[in-house]
């Protein structure tokens, strides 16, 4: 079973009288364990596609399926539940709750899932160790660097063992060195935890880290290359 399938999904935004086709009948299949980069210039539809796959937005046409569950058949409550347990999100910025520490930010999602206190702490710390933040449990986001904040975000996305992690330009606010090491870490997590990653970027260097690169332009997929 594929981790994600998008079939003929389209999204049209209306701004005043102008209709913007953000996505026009795009189809994409991602298998479990893949590490996929969505590439393309600004405005090409990367964010739109990721939002549709993540169930944050509803397509105007087509169907998205995650782990065999078709979104069109699900209520908004079911979708929220699916996001909570099956999908991890990493955004470009504002990923963390400022009043919670690194550990609490990661544990919060487990709290929402109803996981007990002790287990929350164990799992949050283990995953923070994985992303290289073993000495930063008690730091608030404001006391962490941009790269460290993104690592916490990845840790939070990972902690509930989701089927996929969607990362929309996770490195955009980082310098290239920090961005590289974040990508490297994500790749390690992908291999260690067998989690499917789909991330968007318009940085050619960052794309190199991916085995599969899906290129977009004007709301269409124009290339889909897998390195051997």
């Amino acid at each position: 079973m594929s981790a994600v399938t998008a079939r003929d999904v389209s999204k049209i935004y209306t701004q005043g009288d102008v209709k913007v086709t953000a996505l026009g009948k795009v189809s994409l299949t991602v298998e479990t364990g893949e590490f996929v980069a969505l590439a393309g210039p600004s405005g090409s539809g990367k964010t739109t596609l990721l939002n549709l796959i993540g169930g944050l937005d509803t397509p105007d046409g087509g169907e998205v399926t995650v782990n065999g569950m078709a979104f069109s058949t699900m209520s908004s409550g079911d979708l929220a539940e699916l996001r909570l347990t099956q999908i991890g999100f990493v955004f470009q910025s504002y990923n963390l709750i400022p009043v919670l520490t690194a550990e609490e930010n990661v544990a919060y999602i487990l709290r929402l899932q109803g996981v007990g206190k002790k287990e929350r702490q164990e799992r949050a710390r283990a995953i923070l160790n994985d992303v290289g933040l073993e000495d930063k449990y008690d730091r608030k986001p404001s006391q962490l660097s941009g790269g460290q904040q993104q690592r916490v975000a990845v840790a939070r996305a990972l902690v509930s063992n989701p089927a996929i992690i969607l990362a929309d330009e996770p490195t955009a606010n980082l310098d290239s060195k920090t961005g590289d090491s974040l990508l490297q870490m994500m790749r390690e997590m992908n291999q260690k935890h067998h989690v499917t990653f789909i991330f968007s970027t318009h940085d050619a260097m960052v794309m190199e880290a991916a085995k599969r690169i899906v290129s977009m332009k004007d709301g269409q997929i124009v290339a889909d290359k897998t390195k051997c």
Binding site: L56, F89, P98, V99, R111, L112
Partner: protein, 410 residues
């Protein structure tokens, strides 16, 4: 973890939290102080009224109230007194009075007045005249020609202690009777109207004035202070039962003071309305602040929704933060309000400067606030419940933010 988060969230903007807490605190304190003041005023009003020769229970001829005339006096006063003593507790105090309308005059002036024949000693603790501040000396129980008049009346008549006054009234035989009295004392009442409304003479003097013997137009009963209104009603019933053969009317003070009774019945509702009014002033502040806090954290709510938090949970989160603010504010307000009322409960608040206005309502010049646990509870409940109610609006707003929108607005 949710509680912890809510607690930290309210301290994200300490200045704003401090402002809203102050607003709630002042609101709750205002409610408590206002309630205590109003209770004090009403209590004072009731005490004054009862003290104004009303008493707790009164026995009169059935027609006296519609026609206060000596011909509607009580017959067999002794019999009535004996009967009453059987049913009333030992702490109850009884006195008889003759109260009739008349005219008082001197060379300069004359005025319509209520002539009150009293047993001066037994009035102590039963009505204001027993303990009123006085110039000159009080009258004695058998004073034949001594009279007490109010300071305001003395001023109007331009008269003083030792001077003479003529009192005229209708006698028991229907003829007009008139006697001269000498001013023994000039009393000061709580209100100017009382100083102009009554003159006091001894009971024997009053009997001579109206040509009656062993007479009274009323018997007043004063019960112990802690007598509840339920007990009072029972005593009134008992008195009625035991006085049946005498063909008299027995009234409780609530029957005698219908306006005050009606006011008392409305008082709690009235207070609640005031609480709500105070809350409305404060409520806008609460909504505004919570709304501001919610808009500032728009992206965060978007994020929380993206990671799978349900709208209901977000509503609960925002409401939880409001609840924290409200509870803190209520606790502070209760503390502060109680402190202020306790202070004034000791010293009293002197309304001397406004007494012309307050007299109209039968209030005293000095108000002693009365603390009532029920009022404090209701004030807190009003603020907590309505505060939570108005917080629903910002909470629903917070739950409506969608991740897609909020993420785009960076």
């Amino acid at each position: 973890m949710y509680t912890q988060l809510a607690w930290r969230n309210i301290w994200r903007n300490p200045r704003r939290t401090a402002i809203i807490l102050t607003a709630i605190l002042i609101g709750v304190a205002a409610m408590i102080i206002l309630a205590a003041l109003m209770r004090g005023m009403v209590g004072g009003m009731v005490d004054n009224a009862i003290n104004n020769m009303v008493g707790h229970i009164k026995v009169q001829h059935p027609d006296y109230r519609s026609d206060p005339d000596i011909s509607h006096g009580l017959s067999d006063v002794d019999g009535i007194l004996k009967a009453l003593k059987i049913v009333l507790p030992e702490s109850a105090r009884l006195t008889r009075r003759i109260r009739i309308d008349g005219v008082v005059s001197n060379a300069r002036e004359s005025a319509g007045i209520e002539i009150v024949g009293i047993n001066p000693k037994s009035e102590i603790g039963m009505s204001f005249i027993g303990t009123a501040p006085m110039e000159g000396s009080p009258i004695t129980d058998s004073d034949k020609n001594g009279i007490l008049i109010g300071a305001a009346l003395a001023k109007k008549f331009q008269t003083g202690i030792g001077k003479k006054l003529v009192v005229t009234t209708q006698r028991g035989d229907g003829e007009s009777g008139s006697r001269a009295f000498r001013i023994r004392g000039i009393f000061h009442g709580d209100m100017e109207v009382t100083e102009k409304a009554y003159i006091f003479i001894s009971l024997p003097a009053a009997e001579r004035l109206v040509h009656e013997k062993e007479s009274a137009t009323e018997i007043a009963v004063t019960l112990a202070r802690e007598t509840s209104s339920k007990e009072l009603t029972e005593f009134v019933m008992l008195c009625r039962a035991v006085l049946k053969p005498f063909n008299v009317s027995v009234y409780g003070w609530k029957d005698l003071l219908p306006a005050i009774t009606a006011y008392l019945a409305m008082f709690d509702v009235f207070l609640l309305i005031w609480f709500v009014v105070i809350f409305i002033a404060m409520g806008f502040g609460i909504v505004n602040t919570v709304l501001m806090a919610v808009y500032e954290r728009m992206r965060e709510f978007g994020l929380l929704k993206a990671i799978g938090m349900r709208p209901g949970r977000i509503i609960r989160m925002v409401m939880g933060e409001s609840l924290f603010l409200l509870m803190l504010g209520c606790a502070g307000g209760t503390f502060f309000g109680l402190g202020v009322t306790c202070y004034f409960a000791k010293t009293g608040i002197d309304l001397g400067a406004f007494s012309k206005g307050t007299e109209m309502w039968g209030m005293s010049r000095i108000i002693l606030p009365v603390i009532n646990a029920g009022d404090i509870l209701i004030a807190n409940a009003v603020v907590l419940l309505l505060g939570l109610l108005v917080s629903i609006y910002p909470a629903v707003k917070a739950a409506r933010f969608t991740p897609v929108e909020t993420m785009r607005q960076s």
